[in-house]
């Protein structure tokens, strides 16, 4: 398993400040944040951490919720879904067709200018994780390869 550490309270609050600035929410409620490797953040519970200390051959624990890229937080699909209703800033709405394209990993072209580096995509009430906004107005979904819908 990659090096895993509990996020110290100062790192945790720095992470939450970044979340608040980008998405208008900072709250993963009372759960525990852990850092895996350099930049990945997972969410779990106190009990899970305690039990993991007793186990051998641990490969992972909890849920991958975000990646920190410099000053930005890129939410995973599940990370965005946990925060979903509280995300106030940098949201984009997708149609069914766009949502499918998103999950294929294809960029989505928007007419209006988006003034953010990362946005969270919504399809109906479901969050689909973050996309990176490029200068040409396209949003590139950050959907990992294993998660993409295979194109027929």
């Amino acid at each position: 398993m990659k090096r895993t550490i509990l996020l110290s309270s100062s790192k945790s609050s720095a992470f939450q400040t970044m979340l608040e600035r980008q998405y208008g929410t900072k709250d993963f409620s009372d759960k525990i944040l852990i850092q895996v490797g350099e930049d990945k953040i997972r969410l779990t519970t106190n009990d899970t951490v305690k039990v993991a200390e007793k186990m051998r051959g641990v490969q992972s624990l909890g849920l991958y919720v975000a990646k920190v890229k410099g000053q930005d937080v890129v939410l995973s699909i599940e990370g965005s879904q946990l925060l979903c209703n509280n995300i106030k800033k940098n949201r984009i709405e997708l149609t069914e067709e766009q949502a499918r394209l998103w999950m294929v990993g294809a960029p989505i072209q928007f007419e209006r200018l988006i003034a953010a580096k990362y946005v969270v995509a919504f399809y109906k009430n479901i969050c689909l994780g973050c996309g990176r906004v490029s200068a040409d107005g396209k949003v590139y979904p950050q959907v990992p390869k294993w998660r993409r819908i295979q194109q027929e």
Binding site: T45, T48, V51, K54, R56, G57, G62, E78, Q150
Partner: protein
């Protein structure tokens, strides 16, 4: 219709099983199983997911023996739907949902899934725990653990620990630790031949016997990881008594504080465990095990047994 090839050993096995309807079994092997799904209430409300699917033309019918399980009645490819990739639904065999219902985990409990990959039952257990308690999902096979990790992530589970270890060694660090243990053992897969015809063509008594020794060690190991009064479910998706009743007979011989419990599940056709096979008589308690045959629900065949640990110690 193409013909399915059955090894000589398998023919002999099938005709040695007293109650089985061999013609119906072979017929069921030739046909695909009915599609079924579980809606994932860790992501959204059951009724919301069901209505999203219905709006898209998926015809659903509730499976009576399992919470959140539905037959997909019409011919749609759920695997390629958005709801599937987003983790709102999990494609799982209807009978494969039964062992977890029998185990009946409760929020707050510590649960071990000893042979967990690719995670159908792990994700089902986690759904029932609702984020409270902990599930340890173990498997020995690194490649299969990748599929397990993906499914645990897709289902949005925060209280799962994935471990890679030989399940036979687990009591070294987790003796008498868990409230519930599931041993969904590797087996010769005679309950899912319609998905893999090779299982019938290559089936042999020798392989089944070899596997039964591993299954027994895994069952004993799982049992030793249970707390006193804890519950374990041992399950396979095969029909061979060597991998089923024989394993349980030897488990209760080596662990006198193991008690077999009767199993009740609404609407599921269940046959009792065999008391005799190939001139060998099993302990009468073994009758409490259940066998489900693939032709009974146009789904998988399974063997399921519920075991509790009496008193103190292992």
């Amino acid at each position: 219709m193409s013909t399915i090839r059955i090894s000589e050993d398998l023919k002999n096995l099938l005709y040695s099983l007293p109650e089985i309807d061999v013609e119906s079994l072979l017929e069921s092997y030739r046909k695909p199983m009915r599609q079924s799904i579980r809606v994932n209430t860790l992501k959204a409300k059951e009724e919301d997911i069901v209505s999203m699917l219905r709006e898209k033309g998926v015809e659903l019918e509730k499976i009576p023996w399992t919470r959140y399980g539905y037959w997909v009645v019409n011919n749609v490819n759920v695997a390629s739907m958005l709801e599937h990739v987003l983790g709102l639904v999990y494609i799982q065999g209807a009978i494969s949902m039964a062992p977890v219902e029998v185990l009946s985990p409760k929020p707050g409990e510590l649960v071990l899934d000893l042979c967990a990959a690719p995670g159908s039952k792990t994700t089902q257990i986690a759904q029932i725990l609702q984020g409270e308690g902990v599930i340890v999902a173990n498997d020995v096979n690194a490649k299969r653990i990748r599929a397990l990790s993906s499914n645990v992530q897709r289902c949005g589970i925060i209280n799962c620990i994935i471990t890679q270890a030989d399940g036979r060694k687990f009591p070294l660090w987790a003796k008498s630790f868990f409230d519930k243990v599931l041993v969904d053992a590797p087996c010769t897969s005679l309950g899912i031949v319609s998905k893999d015809w090779g299982a019938a063509k290559n089936w042999s008594f020798r392989a089944s016997e070899r596997l039964s020794k591993l299954q027994l060690s895994l069952a004993i190991s799982g049992f030793d990881c249970l707390k006193a009064s804890g519950t374990m479910v041992y399950a396979t998706c095969t029909l061979s008594p060597q991998e089923n009743e024989w394993v349980i007979e030897h488990l209760i011989m080596s662990r006198p504080n193991a008690r077999l419990e009767s199993i009740k599940l609404e609407g599921l056709k269940m046959n009792k465990g065999l008391l005799e096979w190939q001139h060998k008589k099993f302990n009468p308690e073994v009758e409490r095990c259940v066998r489900v045959y693939p032709y009974e629900h146009e789904a998988e065949g399974f063997f399921i047994v519920k075991i509790t640990k009496e008193g103190e110690g292992s």
